[in-house]
Subunit: 408 residues, 3 copies
């Protein structure tokens, strides 16, 4: 079987990746200038560099290792994460610069923005992990980021204000996009639930490592854009409450009174996602309440909605991105709206706020559903030669495997 | 058997954790204000943020992974570390703010302080790992931090000067507290030495990862309070000497001339602990000598004292915190006193110094022994329903286990 | 067999390591002063500290974990990496301070320099991993760094200008030194290719972790010396292209159309190594082209040259340092020369540049080949009692092993 499938990777991935790289190089040669990078050692850079490194760790190490809980999918989880993220940051650097008429291409913020886009693509990837080959993932990543950037441009143009919020869209857009793609790509033959879709005690520890990296550096990803210490502080407290609540709820909702590692890992991050969608000034205790609510919804999503989605809608969400990213993101968005309304006395402004928030959310959701579905149909083409059903969630479809590679 | 034990976790942990979270939220709502967090982008914050992140990594990733060498205790080691640390930082933030009449609640230093308290609780946990359930660990963490903060307040009040040193107390108080608790909780039936209390080649690598994170970021944890570059430099050199010496001594004291991974991991950190207790200006070579002595004592402690403690006093110290934290911390304290005496000509001042140092140490040690013993008796209550003896050092008592969770 | 070999470690390592430590302490006591470390909290330090931590992670965690892919060599890969690096930073701190008449011993740059030297020693170690004992590795590390520093001093003296470039030498000198040592130490009996010289799915993940740490923090290691943001940016883009290209080429050159983990890990770093050798201002697209070329050469090196070196020259290069460090480093050096020539109109200056560059490269290469060979012959002495052929690539030769250590 291996010889039957190996050629497909041979035939698609190298050509696609190398061609894209050459196109990117040409685009950079014509459209991206370097002379702006002369500013050195100033404090702004200092500030952003440490922050940027935290985001860097989240994108390239955290997401990769967290998606690695699948017992036979470790190499692919980290390797394809690196592949897609490395490709997407180049594309996002270019497209961000192009769309914004190069005005923000002047400093390290370009890279920060590119990495946030890459994070969004990795969230989308989380829903289809194990059911696609790397060439499909590359296309998915590029389309997701294009959709995200177009959506942001659209919202900016329509609403002409700064209610604009990347972090919310990062999570909600990415998660819904991925789920729709996964829905289109559903393989009925891969049921009953795939035997390889579980974790063992070692892959569980690797994904704990990834999850802790995300958990620890999440304050940085939330405040890298706004750069206000109170966002860092809110995220920190919210995540602390999330971690405790996630473990308590996992026990409470378990029939045997035991903790489920995967649920805890996802739900402990929900507080950070929710706070990321909020730009209002928060009292510490409000941040803690939001963290608790987000974790509650996320845990319920893991325990009940994930299977429901699978059986009722034939939609399989490998890493549970709907529960980790979409639901807490939307919760945070409404919490932000609620806080704005509470702080506003004028009814007209309050209504304007509410319309704004709901429209932005609706546009983002619609865009992600539509582009996700389109991407799904594009990826469903036989052209991509995805792995067989029985090779799903398995590194062996793509990697020269250790015990077969002694002579190398 | 599992059904017999699982309900105990169901009955205690969720109620306790959620109740505590709600209490914390109420306390924060009434007593912690947020308006002080308006200062942004100033250099002080910059400086502290990078440092704070290093401490963050040590507390949430380093300690968790280092305690993971036990072959079947990986999920619990990291998971319960996260649970307790996330709970303790909230409590410590509040209690520090409350005791200091909110004066220091104004910036990121509150968080740094809270994380140092959490580190102390994790040191205490190191002694009882594998023999307690998470509800017990939560209580232990909260009591330990309360004891630590009260002890600090007491010393501050009694001595009204700045000889006060958190780092020494962090290690010595935490380690002695944990050892006393473990002594009270001793289970004679768990002997002969538990078969699960060993490491394998994979868990050994995970704990190496945790140990290296501690080793690398230890300079940050030592100088985050004092913020003087020479403390960073002293710690760096001391740790370098420690790492080399630990490996040499492990071979020398081994009957077969081989290196013991667990001993090396503990002893290589001893130099950092010792320097943490010192506030005098050190010549580099003095820091190196102190690192070497601390490692020597720590290695001897691992080779001979750990078993002696077990057989003579029925006191079982899972991670050897006595050798890693208590002994080097006390050594550092006396080294600091010695250096102060050498630099002082006036006999009166010298005697005053000596009395101060020894009193502070005696008070801290007494407090930790007493509070640790009391905590031990509290945790021994049947109410907590700890795991059976044969489920010690085993994740299966608490976690939905991989091969049993296929259908989830 | 174990009792036969264990004594060798007992007899050599402790004596050597402790003696060296005592010598270092004496040298530091007489020659290194501490009073310069009074400057605190200034911005320069801030800037460098965050950077220094990244380099710290690369040296102590990244290299160690990346060399851990060997299935039974995990403890040794990380442990001996820590041992050698901790020893070498002390020696390099001293020797750098001594050779430069103490003028640069005033701030954190001393440590940065020492860590770059340690990185070079770890590169050299990569070629001999699994075939030497820790006492041999200690000697190799100290000699390599001495050779590197002497070579730098020589070049500085001869060329009296600032074309001087540590990063190029770090990689090229280290890799060639290691390969020559490995060539001298060749064990014909260890062929046919050692069965333990492969990876499994878990060690592969650990080495992925190490590789990602290197990949992520490489921009920091490249710009820590020059401290110009554009070097960071060039390295970042080059590495992104490298990661994508490495995966594409690995598939393309594989007979079965599958990805080889070890090749991808090495080749994805090649872009960073190449940019490290360049000090000219680069347009982003040029950096990307260089990254692509370096990855191409590196992948070809892994696929074809590594085996060729083994069969034709009896030279065994465990981690493929020739392909990861030497070739991309030399490519980058020539790319830098080429870019200098393109920017120069004056033919005289152009020729002077070319002569300079080629002479520096020739001197470095000759020095590394000669010192590496000499070191190889020193290490071949029976005195060192290396492990038997059948104990190569095996932790059991040096470590008290888990399942044998239950009683401890």
């Amino acid at each position: 079987m291996a010889p039957h499938y190996a050629p497909s990777l041979w035939a698609r991935l190298p050509a696609m990746a190398l061609m894209l790289e050459i196109i990117f190089i040409v685009l950079f040669a014509f459209f991206v200038e370097t002379e702006e990078f002369k500013k050195t050692k100033n404090q702004e850079f200092l500030y952003l560099y440490a922050n940027f490194q935290d985001v860097h760790v989240i994108v390239f190490l955290g997401f990769g290792f967290m998606s690695m809980f699948l017992v036979r999918y470790g190499f692919s989880g980290t390797g394809f994460g690196l592949l897609v993220a490395a490709m997407v940051v180049q594309w996002a650097t270019f497209i961000n610069a192009f769309l914004s008429s190069f005005h923000s291409s002047k400093d390290i913020l370009v890279l920060v923005n590119a990495e946030l886009c890459a994070a969004s693509a990795l969230v989308a990837m989380g829903a289809v992990h194990g059911k696609t080959n790397p060439a499909q993932l590359l296309l998915l990543g590029l389309l997701e980021v294009t959709g995200l950037v177009v959506n942001q441009g659209l919202i900016k143009k329509l609403f002409k204000n700064d209610t604009f919020n990347t972090t919310m869209q990062l999570h909600v857009f990415g998660a819904l996009f991925g789920v729709m793609t996964s829905w289109v790509l559903y393989r009925s033959e891969a049921e009953p639930r795939h035997e390889k879709e579980k974790f063992d005690s070692k892959t569980g520890l690797f994904s704990t490592l990834g999850m802790l990296l995300l958990w620890m550096f999440w304050p940085s990803i939330n405040f890298v854009e706004a750069q206000e210490i109170r966002i860092m502080y809110s995220t920190y407290l919210s995540l602390a409450v999330s971690a405790v609540t996630a473990m308590a709820l996992s026990v409470l909702l378990s029939p045997k009174g035991k903790i489920n590692l995967v649920h805890v890992q996802g739900a402990a991050l929900a507080g950070g996602v929710a706070i990321g969608a909020i730009r209002t000034v928060l009292d510490p205790w409000v941040a803690m309440v939001i963290g608790m609510c987000a974790t509650l919804l996320s845990t319920l999503g893991f325990r009940y909605m994930k299977d429901h989605m699978l059986f009722a809608f034939e939609c399989h969400d490998t890493c549970g991105v709907l529960s980790v990213h979409a639901i807490p993101g939307i919760l945070g968005w409404f919490a932000d709206l609620f806080l704005q309304l509470v702080n506003t006395d004028d009814a007209t402004i309050a209504i304007r706020f509410a319309v704004h928030y709901i429209c932005i959310l609706l546009i983002s959701v619609s865009m992600s559903l539509v582009t996700g579905t389109i991407t799904g149909f594009l990826l469903k083409l036989k052209f991509w030669k995805p792995q067989q059903d029985r090779k799903c969630f398995d590194d062996q479809a793509f990697w020269e495997f250790p015990h077969l590679a002694v002579h190398n």
